[in-house]
């Protein structure tokens, strides 16, 4: 969120105008401000802070929910130590990393390319944008089911089309080579429109002056793109990538429907693995610890991304 507020050029214009209003009313209205803040604080406490503390303390315990007589049994950092020694956790972490890298990169490149094309579009804009929204609005489980039908090696349309032009017809979801890629393709299909829409919106708000100046200086289209469009888009790209990475990190539905983590363990993502511990094995303590490890990984990654992007901005 910091990035967006920084990137808003007009922010500086609004701020000074507000200041007199603010300083005039702030002092006598303090209790009122507290009262107005209270609902938000209460809601946050109930919906975010309390569950977080609860699940963190759960992660320090062993609790088998499927046992009627089981109680919380404090194990300290035992669950976390076990996770570090858990080969299937590391396997899932690696798969999740590959998944994020592959899907987000493809979504960014495709999204940017298509957004640049759509920027020039003059007819049927509304229709195209609505159509683009459709994959995003479809429930991931439904997306998974549709792709599962299409991927079916004997009755699916993909292999029918490939076979009719004489290309090889792989067993998309059943083979080690294509299992993860197949899940990634479905994810890319679903979420590229998200990138397109965000980047298109940003492209349309870019100021025209730098481009006009560059054109006068004799810059060609490619130079204008790399030296003006991309730097101006960077804050938007960082936010879009961040949102997609966080979302990808949690990918569950597609894996659940398409491959159930298989073949072997080749598509077992972290959230799928966590789900197994929570709702198949009912070891809630271990599942909570897994969730916290994921949370820590996301927070570290997000901060690294923000840090590198702001440092680059500073260097310019």
């Amino acid at each position: 969120m910091q990035i967006t507020s920084e990137s808003r050029v007009d922010k500086h214009v609004i701020e000074p105008a507000r200041e007199p209003l603010h300083s005039r009313q702030a002092a006598p209205r303090l209790p009122a401000a507290l009262v107005l803040l209270l609902p938000t604080v209460v809601v946050l406490l109930l919906l975010t802070i309390y569950p977080t503390i609860y699940s963190f303390s759960l992660s320090l315990n062993e609790w088998n929910m499927s046992n009627r007589l089981a109680t919380w049994n404090f194990v300290g950092l035992g669950n976390y130590v076990a996770i570090l020694r858990d080969a299937r956790f590391w396997n899932a972490a690696q798969i999740t990393g590959t998944f994020i890298l592959g899907t987000v990169t493809a979504q960014l490149l495709l999204g940017l390319g298509i957004a640049l094309l759509l920027q020039r579009q003059v007819v049927a804009q509304g229709f195209v944008r609505t159509a683009l929204l459709l994959p995003m609005m479809t429930t991931p489980v439904v997306v998974g089911l549709i792709w599962r039908f299409m991927y079916n090696p004997t009755q699916g349309i993909l292999n029918y089309l490939l076979g009719s032009v004489g290309l090889p017809t792989p067993n998309w979801l059943g083979s080690l080579k294509t299992g993860l890629i197949s899940v990634m393709i479905a994810d890319i299909w679903e979420w590229t429109p998200f990138m397109i829409l965000i980047l298109l919106a940003a492209l349309q708000t870019l100021p025209q002056e730098p481009f006009e100046a560059a054109a006068i200086d004799g810059a060609n289209a490619w130079q204008a793109f790399t030296h003006i469009t991309l730097p101006l888009l960077r804050p938007t790209i960082v936010v879009a990538v961040l949102l997609r990475v966080i979302d990808s990190f949690k990918t569950f539905d597609l894996v659940y429907v398409l491959t159930n983590g298989g073949p072997g363990t080749s598509t077992e993502t972290l959230s799928f693995y966590t789900y197994k511990w929570g709702f198949k094995f009912f070891q809630m303590g271990y599942a909570a610890a897994l969730s916290f490890v994921m949370l820590i990984m996301v927070v570290i990654f997000a901060n690294l991304l923000i840090l590198t992007s702001t440092r680059k901005r500073g260097a310019e």
């Binding site: 004997t154 159930n260 298989g262 072997g264 363990t265 709702f279």
Partner: protein, 458 residues
């Protein structure tokens, strides 16, 4: 063999038989009730259940069932029950992958929100062993024996689906055992006999595949997708080779000769299997056989109704069903078809246990079993051996032959975790991610951790 005996005694099979005999008498001593209570009731000998009386008029039951044809069928028959008893029945029918998590999250609240719950036989350790199900012996003693007729249930089905540590926790509802389906037209045309051993199965699949795959008919189809179906398919082979998941001391034995050979054997069938067998689950496998894409199908017998479905099946009158192959043992053949099925039990927190039992007695009674037959077989010997039904449901005689020799999966509380680890490793071998010996050795390590974590074989 030792493993097998261990499993059988662990299931309380022998105990069951004894208990049933006692249950048929007036006293419910074997149920672990206090002797005085039992005697008191024996004196009264009041029959409250099985009469479809109005005793519980106005009660409402919530029933949680797995999404299988039989569950939909019982729902359709329920208005007659409601009319006779005044008991309203609400159903929540959920697909297998979501059922357990929904049930257990509701049960954990201990509010009695669910009165009757459908329990996969391999969850009995979790549900009955950990206190979520209510032992029903006290109700059995008050039920009209002519209606309930416990002796009529196949003893092994009753023991494995509905009993835990010698106590009865419900009645069987949905019943399944592995079988080999084959296409009679193709077998006749090629002069083949149904395979009796695994070697014969592989040879037959190869012969047919070589002759027919150009016409779009593969040698066989099987459920190769990572999951419980792959595990159940594998157990047919594994068990008959003399293997089991662990020995009598709960030491994992997947890296045994039987463990390695059995999964390598399944993998060796893949060249003769339908394209995509590795991503096929129950539905895809049944569909492939139903559409005539394979000459043999290794699957649960309860897929059979799909192959006689006039709207969808392309193989009506062209198939038969037989016992799963086994391993030659002298002149005999050792077969261990995998066993499955569902218990319908009463939740320990139910506020309507009496009405729930009345429903349960009705839903598993002989007339209802006959009405439910089109959606899948029941567990009563009388219906399975009914000559009229056997004409329509050709799988019944095979079931009578195999149900009592079938091999069940472990039912200990940590089984779901073991199930997941085993299925993942079997899948790894099937797709060639790992060599069988390495995968099974690594799996033994994982299973030992899980078993020890659950307090077994420390």
């Amino acid at each position: 063999m030792r493993d097998r005996q261990d499993v059988v005694s662990q299931l309380g099979y022998r105990g069951t038989r004894r208990q049933l005999l006692k249950g048929a008498g007036a006293l419910g001593l074997a149920a672990g009730l206090g002797a005085s209570r039992s005697l008191g009731r024996a004196a009264a000998q009041e029959v409250r259940f099985g009469k479809l009386s109005k005793e519980w008029d106005g009660a409402t039951l919530n029933v949680s069932l797995v999404a299988e044809p039989r569950s939909d069928a019982i729902q359709k028959l329920t208005p007659a029950f409601t009319e006779a008893t005044g008991i309203t029945v609400n159903y929540t029918i959920l697909p297998y992958p979501n059922l357990e998590e929904k049930q257990l999250t509701a049960l954990t609240q201990q509010t009695g929100e669910q009165d009757l719950i459908h329990v996969d036989c391999v969850w009995m350790g979790q549900y009955a062993g950990q206190g979520w199900l209510y032992p029903v012996q006290e109700f059995v003693d008050q039920t009209d024996p002519a209606v309930l007729d416990l002796e009529d249930f196949m003893p092994r089905v009753l023991a494995e689906q509905s009993m835990w540590e010698d106590k009865l926790y419900g009645l069987p509802f949905i019943n399944a055992v592995f079988a080999l389906y084959y296409r009679t037209d193709i077998f006749n045309e090629m002069g083949l006999e149904p395979p009796q051993t695994w070697d014969e199965l592989a040879a037959t699949a190869k012969t047919i595949h070589e002759a027919k795959s150009a016409d779009g008919v593969a040698g066989l189809t099987l459920m190769g997708r990572r999951g419980v179906q792959l595990l159940c398919t594998h157990l047919n082979v594994f068990g008959s080779m003399g293997g089991y998941y662990y020995d009598e001391n709960y030491k994992p034995t997947m890296a045994s000769e039987a463990g390695i050979n059995s999964i390598e054997y399944l993998k060796s069938l893949l060249p003769y299997a339908v394209e995509g067998a590795l991503s096929n689950d129950y539905d895809e496998t049944a569909a492939a056989f139903q559409q005539g894409l394979a000459a043999m199908n290794l699957q649960w017998q309860n897929a059979a109704p799909q192959f006689v479905d006039p709207d969808a099946s392309k193989i009506i009158g062209k198939w038969n069903i037989t016992q799963v192959p086994g391993v030659a043992d002298g002149n005999a053949i050792k077969r261990t078809p995998t066993f499955g099925g569902w218990n319908l039990g009463i939740s320990a927190d139910s506020q309507n246990k009496d009405a729930a039992w009345e429903y349960l007695v009705w839903a598993t009674s002989k007339p209802i079993e006959i009405e439910l037959a089109p959606s899948g077989p029941g567990a009563r010997r009388s219906t399975l051996s009914d000559p009229e039904l056997q004409k329509t449901y050709i799988e019944y005689s095979m079931m009578l032959e195999t149900l009592d020799s079938a091999l069940g999966r472990p039912r200990i509380p940590v089984w779901p975790q073991m199930n997941d680890a085993i299925a993942a490793s079997l899948s790894e071998v099937m797709v060639g991610q790992t060599d069988a010996k390495d995968a099974m050795t690594a799996l033994d390590g994982q299973l030992a951790d899980i078993l020890q974590g659950g307090g077994f074989g420390v």
